[in-house]
Amino acid sequence: MNELAAAVPWLGKRNPAAARWLILILAIAAPLIAWQFGRSWVRILDFALLYMMLALGLNLVVGFAGLLDLGYIAFYAVGAYTFAFLASPHFEVHLPFWLVLPLGAAFAALAGIMLGFPVLRLRGDYLAIVTLGFGEIVRIFMLNLNYPVNITNGPQGIGMIDPIVLFGWDLSQNLQITERFAINSLFLYYYAFLACVAGSILFIRRLQISRVGRAWAAMREDELAAKAIGINTRNLKLLAFALGATFGGVAGCLFGAFQGFVSPESFSLMESIAVLTMVVFGGMGNIAGAVIGAFVLALLPEILRHIAVPLQQAVFGHVLLDPEVLRMLLLSLAMILMMLLRPTGLIPARARYAHPENLHRSSQP
């Protein structure tokens, strides 16, 4: 939260308290603003929050522990499919949300450890290639495990997944307050996801300024020196993979329940790269970077889609460039510009690894 507040332009440095309130108000008011442009925009915001969770989890692996993971979306898939298996007509199992969510997180963590073990000794490019392969293996499994025994229902995916039900309160139904006033389901999901993102930020922030966060940073900076001060790099790498995967798994569960449908095509390599782009775009290794990177890159394509078509029609009379083509074009352009102008990300704030309350004020920078 403090890091996010500091990232607010102009106000962040001058009045952090005001900046904090501004973020809080914006976070709560965002769907109300989006609603003015149409309900699809609230839906886009919901997805932006899911991407934030993914970016936060991947940032933990890539940014904190320095382990490049190009198959991160596999954990999202594990979470989503776990939810689909245990709460849909596919197997005629309908377990409650509170049971499936931890199971999805646990399976994703297990998958993280499964990936972690074989790659313990790998670094850099080699690690990237193996994790990329892992992501594809999971996706291809989902695609092909429909024969001879139908487990995943193959490319058709699994539909009619149960919605999130909290204490008998179904988030997929509009909440009727009075006869004429109801809160749309998309809002309910928005605030549920917002709570999850806030919880994730809190947890990750606490991890960062703990002995574990420092050990990850040490490992990332110099593995040999980290070993020499007694850090068990094997356990800490596995922990990073497992915890990072947990966030992916939770986000996957939420995604499955929100969307009501999962299929392998949601978990392609491009998605892994998109999440990694969010982390790098925002600024690797800092929480605010992951949040803002995810927010900007989840919204940008949608905004483009809505602006590009009318704009082209107005200027040329017809659509010259498909929004999808334009999206890739502009995204690549944005990445190149970023690399040239801000190679350390949108918010290059140096992450802190000590609890600010414990620091002495006297020491000068």
């Binding site: 703990s210 002995r211 050990a215 900076e221 070993k227 020499a228 850090i231 000590a354 414990n358 020491s363």
Partner: protein
């Protein structure tokens, strides 16, 4: 005096190169023990084997009345041996304070759950770690740079920070790999005072060093390695006059360079 570390017949071979051959030595509690020898004599290899970075081909270590695990750096540190590196290896993007705090990792216990709920034990431990890190920075004389990113520190201060980080692991034996390399006379003098202070506080020091004046002025006993073998071990004054040692350093004999 009590023996703290005993190396028995340590051997290490890299392909055709016998880096260490049957090296045995004993370090007593509370002394500064020097390990010298020409370049390539096997000093750093000995360090790497001792601290678990390499697994020896033969032999073993007894430390503080027990066998020392080989090839497991984190367990060696847990037993009370810390090291620094010949080429400084700090966590460059971390501040001086955070570097030292990271060094305290092995002496802290907080788990994921404790960190998540920030229970009292975790908060207490975190505060102690921070306080201890400030103390150690003061101890090596760079407290004013606590919030400076470590790669911005001067060379001499980086060396000091590395020592502070090693001390944060609460070692019984501190192994320093050429701490005076690249230092000028003033800096070396201050380093000497620091090492004496560390010894005075009850930490045994194992020192690899090229600066003969520093070794002779600081060490209680010295071992000399040449081509992976120990050719002498005694008080500095005796070693200095040892024929084999003079030959190893100046050349001649069967080891003509």
């Amino acid at each position: 005096m009590k023996t703290l570390l005993e190396a028995r017949g340590i051997g290490k071979r890299f392909g055709g190169l016998q880096a260490l051959a049957d090296v045995s030595l004993t370090i007593r509690e509370g002394e500064v023990y020097g390990l010298i020898g020409p370049n390539g004599a096997g000093k750093t290899t000995f360090f790497n084997v001792l601290t678990g970075a390499y697994t020896p081909d033969g032999g073993g270590f007894a430390f503080d009345g027990g066998e020392l695990p080989t090839g497991k750096p984190h367990r060696v540190v847990a037993r009370g041996i810390a090291r620094t590196f010949q080429n400084i290896r700090l966590f460059r993007e971390l501040t001086a304070l955070e570097n030292v705090m990271a060094g305290h990792h092995i002496r802290t216990r907080a788990g994921i759950w404790g960190i998540l709920i920030q229970n009292r034990h975790t908060r207490e431990e975190e505060r102690e770690t921070t306080e201890r890190a400030y103390e150690l920075l003061r101890y090596v004389g760079i407290e004013r740079f606590a919030d400076t990113v470590s790669r911005h520190l001067s060379y001499g201060d980086q060396r000091r920070l590395e020592i502070a980080r090693a001390l944060a692991t609460e070692p019984r034996l501190l192994a320093l790999d050429e701490p005076a390399a690249g230092m000028n006379a003033t800096e070396t003098g201050r380093l000497k005072a620091l090492i004496e202070q560390i010894r005075g506080d009850g930490v045994t020091v194992l020192l690899i060093e090229h600066d003969v004046k520093l070794v002779m002025g600081l060490c209680d006993r010295v071992a000399v390695l040449d081509f992976g073998r120990k050719i002498a071990e005694d008080v500095p004054a005796v070693v200095q006059r040892d024929e084999a040692v003079i030959k190893a350093y100046l050349g001649g004999g069967k080891h003509a360079h």
